[in-house]
Amino acid sequence: MKLEFDIASGDFSKAGRASSRIKKMLKQLQVDPKVIKRIVVAIYEAEVNVVAHSVGGKMLAEIDGTGITVIVQDNGPGIEDIEKAMQEGYSTASKAVRNMGFGAGMGLPNINRNTDEFTIESELGVGTVLTFRNNF
């Protein structure tokens, strides 16, 4: 089963749409609530990252019999220093975004902590691709 979502830059009102839809679907499929709780944290954080930091992108979620794989791809600007971005507390978010309570530098660490497999690739001027998976 495949689900695709467009994620627009700057539109915080839509952040949470993909995670909410996927959560409902996993519940219907009677996936273990513990698995659902972890994956929705990762998906929400990934959505917010695309909204807050990129020019826009999309999310592709694929559910199979053994787990869920999520690919989040944006169209730039790319992350300059992935190692720094992965550090808890490091953020390049704008003041306006921070005032909303985002940009605490916990997004990528939250994704890492709440997934079974996680990779991040980024190229400046091109974009960032996150791939993560949780097994049922």
């Binding site: 954080e45 917010v48 909303m100 309570g101 605490a104 939250n110």
Partner: protein
């Protein structure tokens, strides 16, 4: 108001909390019978996303609708806005849809959290 004490834990519903502290109910009335498992205090959304637990009451000063996105994903019992802050319109709508009450108090975070802590432990 009834308080049932079992195995050292106080069980409480959102409606009882509303009554006890005279909280304003902005929205999400259908969730007033939600059981409270504890509380979490933070204005950083990722902190709540990463650390709050199902059934907790979230005390915050953030009023925008992402608060409800998080409350829903984490299956929180209710949200309490402090210092007289009021929720934005789309926050109210989302709260009603999800059945997660948004409550309000004029108290500051420290006092509200202290009251909740004493009540629940």
């Amino acid at each position: 108001m009834t308080l049932t004490v079992t195995e050292e834990e106080v069980e409480m519903k959102v409606s009882e909390l509303v009554e006890k502290f005279g909280l304003k109910v902005f929205s999400g009335e259908s969730g007033l019978e939600n059981e409270i498992s504890g509380g979490y205090v933070s204005d950083l959304l990722s902190d709540v996303m990463g650390n709050a637990q199902e059934g907790e009451v979230w005390i915050t000063l953030q009023t925008h609708q992402n608060v409800m996105a998080i409350a829903s994903l984490k299956e929180l019992a209710a949200v309490i806005l402090v210092k007289g802050f009021e929720p934005e319109e789309d926050t109210l709508e989302r709260s009603n849809e999800e059945g997660i009450p948004v409550l309000g108090t004029d108290k500051a975070t420290f006092e509200m959290a202290g009251n909740l802590y004493i009540t629940l432990t």
